[in-house]
Amino acid sequence: MSAVLSQLYRRPTAIIAEDEQHLAEALRLELAKVWPELYVMSIVNDGISAVKQALLLKPDVLFFDIRMPGMSGLEAAAELAETWKGNAFPSLVFVTAYDQYALQAFDAQAVDYLLKPVSSDRLQKTVVKLHLAGLSKHNTEEDNSRNLENTLTKLGKLLSTTTDQMGTALRLKVIKVNLPLLGNSIKLIPIEDVLYFTATDKYVQVVAKTDEGYKEFLIRTPLKDLLPQLDPAVFWKIHRSTVVRASAIDIVQRDHLGKLSLTLRGRMGSLAISRLYTHLFKTR
């Protein structure tokens, strides 16, 4: 109800996602001081709820903590952008305890990037920035979709820069696979033979070339731990749960809904490309 009211009076709205209760409360209080019109619709404590609430309430501004349980602020923003429909995508403000991913990257991609503890003066500046970025909802539909496209590209790039933190020294050279059926033996797959990785519920499936053609193997290392150890020039993340060898990509197609998918050389079937990573396939 209050959400409807705030729309009516054009009161700006926000959601705060922060896993530490005192910090969430402090941010709300500070915001009330420096931006009294702002209506904080909801405070959530994890990334998954952040996505759910944002989709439901469609606020103007999102204050996302980077490190949260369930899903990081970054992943939450990406997931949100992927599933977003309709009106303008909210302005993003990331909040973090320290500058783990180099501030500049964020400054360029999000509206603002706050370091904890957040001082009132600094928050005031954020509010000015948000006003400048334009909170009005007079945007046309075309504006909205262009805006969203823009956000998606930025977040996609941001996600790929944050995962490429390890130097080349720590690159994975072989994948170790347990073969419990063969008396607990371990098979080593050279990384050169790997075609793609897909995350399933508990495991990651590795599809690799073997002497008997392509075969599937299961490993326990989560995709998010695997990714930093892969060469980003060789393996591309194309979806939340898929990483493929770029040189094995055969054809990229767009279906009637505008969704992209690709096929790999020598493999049947296609893999979905998430909207976040379509920038990888732009021809110009």
């Binding site: 896993d19 530490e20 209760q21 005192h22 910090l23 409360e25 402090a26 209080l29 404590n45 994890d46 998954i48 709820s49 490190r67 349980p69 369930g70 305890a97 320290y98 783990q100 370091l115 904890k116 503890p117 957040v118 170790k176 347990n178 326990r220 290392t221 731990d225």
Partner: protein, 347 residues
């Protein structure tokens, strides 16, 4: 197994070879000039140099090949000690045997008679030498490793994420809940002070260790709220036993970082200590997300590696760490080490 000798080590080895040979030659001269066998200088030199060469081959090269890749390099293990003693006997024996056919029988016969006496003297001397070197080298090596570990420990404890989040919480609480803020500040101060002090002493009591864990967990509890519950279980009779400072800290940090933090609803951490006549057993359990044990072992994070290294540095083979995720807990780490009483002097 392919053995690669690093360039720096190679140079040292050659230096030691030259040293051995010159000592061998010197002994030959000394023997030839001071004893009645002064006429046999040539034979004496060949013999001594041959023994010295074999000794170098077995003691230096053989030792490197056999022990350089194992953790037994320092401190000297029993196996290595026995090997070195046998290496010296073998060198003496082979030197005599191999040089023997090339020399006139009568020349070395007198020498060969004293073989066993010589062996005994050499063994005793070598043992004393090894002991002296080990004492010295082990200590410096050990000290360097300990200070390395402490530095890293300090770094992790003053990890920026932890530090700034704590400060952010303090800033938030100063206005809304000054009582809680003061409490948090107190915990931070004692935790930080202990961190700084802990990097100076090599052992402190289990009681102190658990107190510091309490400070850390209370600090985290203010931040995580109801998502963190904890139990510290230290039987009073174990209070005075000694432990390397902050040995348990990385395990508790891991439990929070990898167990509870990723879990939306949080969980409980239980740290408990037990003892039998010989050793102390400490368990760190959590009800967090429960990463696969195989995966934890493979990823071999900094925290676990550090605990294993410190256990090895302080207790040698007697310190152990095991990981499991069976039973009531999603992740369980057990460490055990021999009992060290407060009264015992422990360097």
């Amino acid at each position: 197994m392919k053995i690669i000798i690093p360039a720096s080590e190679r140079r040292h080895m050659l230096q030691r070879l030259a040293f051995s040979l010159s000592i061998g030659a010197a002994i030959a001269f000394a023997l030839a000039t001071t004893t009645e066998r002064s006429g046999y200088l040539g034979a004496q030199v060949i013999l001594s140099v041959a023994i010295a060469a074999f000794a170098w081959l077995f003691v230096d090269l053989g030792d490197f090949v056999l022990f350089s890749h194992s953790i037994e390099r320092f401190p000297f293990s029993k196996k290595r000690h026995i090997y070195l003693v046998f290496a010296v006997i073998a060198a003496q024996f082979l030197g005599e045997i191999l040089v023997y056919p090339f020399l006139d029988f009568g020349q070395v016969r007198t020498q060969f008679k004293g073989f066993w006496t010589w062996c005994l003297i050499t063994i005793v001397m070598i043992s004393v030498f090894i002991w002296a070197v080990t004492q010295n080298k082990f200590r410096t090596e050990d000290k360097r490793r300990e200070s390395d570990i402490r530095l890293k420990l300090l770094e992790t404890q003053l990890e920026p994420h932890m530090l700034f989040n704590t400060l952010a919480n303090l800033r938030a609480l100063i206005n809304t809940d000054p009582v809680q803020a003061t409490k948090m500040l107190d915990h931070s101060v004692s935790f930080l002070r202990a961190t700084v002090n802990g990097s100076r002493v090599s052992l402190h009591t289990l009681g102190t260790e658990f107190e510091r864990l309490g400070d850390y967990l209370d600090l985290m509890k203010i931040r995580m709220g109801s998502r963190l519950k904890y139990t510290l279980d230290l039987p009073p009779e174990l209070d005075g036993h000694l432990i390397p400072p902050f040995l348990l800290q990385p395990l508790v940090e891991n439990a929070i970082k990898h167990g509870l933090e990723p879990k939306v609803e949080g969980g409980r951490i239980i740290v408990s200590a037990r003892a039998d006549e010989k050793q102390i057993l400490i368990e760190v359990n959590d009800t967090g997300v429960g990463s696969d044990v195989e995966y934890i072992k493979e990823s071999n994070g900094f925290g676990l590696k550090q605990v294993t290294e410190r256990l090895l540095a302080v207790y040698g083979e007697l310190g152990k760490m095991t990981l499991s995720n069976t039973g009531d807990f999603n992740t369980s780490v057990q460490i055990q080490f021999p009992i060290t009483q407060r009264t015992e002097a422990f360097a």
